[in-house]
Symmetry: C2
Subunit: 214 residues, 2 copies
Amino acid sequence: MVKLAIQFIILSFDLFLYYRLYLSCMYSLLQHIQRFVSLTEEEIQLLTPYFTAKQTEKKEYLFKEGQICPANYFVSKGCYRLYFVNEKGVENIVQFAIENWWIADYMSLEKQIPSPFSLQSLETGELLVLEKQVQEELLGKVSKLERYFRIIAQRANGAAQVRIKYISELSGEERYVQFAASFPEFVQRIPQYMLASYLGFTPEFLSKLRAKKR
Amino acid sequence: MVKLAIQFIILSFDLFLYYRLYLSCMYSLLQHIQRFVSLTEEEIQLLTPYFTAKQTEKKEYLFKEGQICPANYFVSKGCYRLYFVNEKGVENIVQFAIENWWIADYMSLEKQIPSPFSLQSLETGELLVLEKQVQEELLGKVSKLERYFRIIAQRANGAAQVRIKYISELSGEERYVQFAASFPEFVQRIPQYMLASYLGFTPEFLSKLRAKKR
DNA sequence: CGGGCCTTTGACTGGTTTCAACTTCTGTGG
DNA sequence: CCACAGAAGTTGAAACCAGTCAAAGGCCCG
């Protein structure tokens, strides 16, 4: 009897924690959505059950190479990396995602084919999970969100075009200087070998660049 | 009097030509849209006036570096390149667009800032022009198209992620081999120096690669 | 037919990688 | 809380992939 009561209390506490997490994530998301489309109270109620919140610890995987990317993720807290491993066994980071970014392997998500990428948490973090199937349903229900996701995707596209421009325009050194100037806090936040991987060169080379600057 | 009549005939003929062009482009677009969302007869009527058709000749520009990208373009026929010129004066191709592709500088389009890119026709071609403002109106009118454009943008995103993967994973030589194997017809269609530019190396290097393969 | 643009070829250069050894940092278990 | 192992960062030498420059040949279009 006492055992049961205790289990009940623990369960309640877990629920309470989840609820808090969910609310905090959902708050970020709604803020973000309202930057692009305005939702009615009713629509907010409608959209709410389609998302699940998730807390991730450092190094936890959302999905791994070989799996079909299961969902579209909205980062509410923390930092995540989308990367692949080349045939030499070297990790290559394709994208980072921090607060208020959506991340997924969109090719895998759309075509439901295995992803060459892995998505990993770099810090303890929190995100919302919107599964492929669920997203379809949600969009059927709240069609205003089509607009939101359209805008988000077009922005991501713009960012990708600029990224490709930088890759082909700048030398490794210039890329580092430019990036460090644009995102000084972020450079502090992640290990150097990941920055090197993202910028498209080796950690040794980055180390030498930094030595030169001093 | 006779002069007037002749002018009238010429005008009519121009109109007739435009109408034919417009119909052919619009046919491609509607086919493409219906691959993702199904439109009612009424919606088709609604959407029709928002697009204008355009015929481009080889080397014609849709917009140039420094301008704000004025529209989103749907290619119905021909081939286009989005490129920028680096500080050394070398052209770098960021994207090609062929039949049934949308192309624009999405960062410039969204934020209404000057574009670092130029969009140029490589062959005589035909496309539909959807101006920024007009697109907004259209989407307000036919909200089903939000879905279409969302899907298109997400696909483009997937393609960009894969492109970045190839750039960081493969050496120049591997990129060429891979690309030539994937799009053999396209390699025939464009001059080598543009292919080199797109693949991220010099025309001389491409020439040497081709020499090796023989 | 001529001029300019595209492609080819070769010699030289340099930015970046590779490899290996060493140092410093970090986190985990005793 | 310290010790220690593994991870991350540093440094230098040698190798290499691809760029640069220049000169020559081919080809297309006016």
